[in-house]
């Protein structure tokens, strides 16, 4: 169990690191785009599309990271198979789906974003499977708890 908790700690801090990177990017995105433009010149439309998509996605990413952090903290408190955790994973699924949908119009302006649409779409599908498994596990746990 200690090994599981250690890996949960690693994931928890990895998530917080990603949150910090996203937070820094909120303020430095124009500079980063300028720097990127030196290697692969961007048109004004492409630059605007990336900026708009990033700021819209940042909301969904923020919600997903908050839920992920909360989920991992509840796992550390040994509260794994609960309805609350299912709700959190479901929220993460919707956030992944949201990022995928947000990137669709932006992908028409900046084609590499198609990759993002596909990856996030696949991720939301994968998280849906996790939600189903988790919901079934909660049912089994409740049934087990109520077996005398």
């Amino acid at each position: 169990m200690k090994r599981v908790f250690n890996s949960v700690h690693v994931t928890l801090w990895a998530g917080r690191l990603v949150a910090a990177v996203v937070f820094v990017l909120l303020f430095t995105l124009p500079t980063v785009l300028q720097w990127y433009g030196q290697y692969r010149p961007l048109t004004q439309l492409e630059s605007n599309a990336i900026t708009a998509a990033f700021y819209l996605c940042a909301v969904a990413v923020g919600i997903a990271l908050w839920n992920m952090d909360s989920l991992l903290r509840s796992i550390l408190n040994a509260e794994v198979f609960t309805h609350e955790n299912v709700r959190k994973i479901r929220m993460i699924r919707w956030c992944c789906f949201g990022v995928s949908v947000i990137c669709i119009p932006a992908a028409f302006c900046y084609y590499p974003l198609v990759f993002m649409v596909l990856v996030m779409g696949f991720l939301s599908l994968a998280v849906t499977v996790v939600v189903r498994v988790m919901a079934a596990a909660v049912e089994i746990r409740e049934e087990n708890d109520l077996t005398v």
């Binding site: 049934e143 109520l146 005398v148």
Partner: protein, 73 residues
Amino acid sequence: MAIIVNLDVQLARRKMTSLELAQRIGLTQANLSILKTGKAKAIRMSTLNEICRVLGCQPGDLLEFVEDDHGTE
């Protein structure tokens, strides 16, 4: 729930308390309470066996099927 647990009736007939039964069958009072209040989703054969042995009754004396609007739930 279509299955009614008549454990309290059997206990009253034998003038036995839940605590005494729990101690004699090796079950926690919390689990016995789950059974008594009808919240239990399943009962182990070993638990049923112990209850019947201690109370000197048949499983049918403890469990009763009652038709309700929702079927089995």
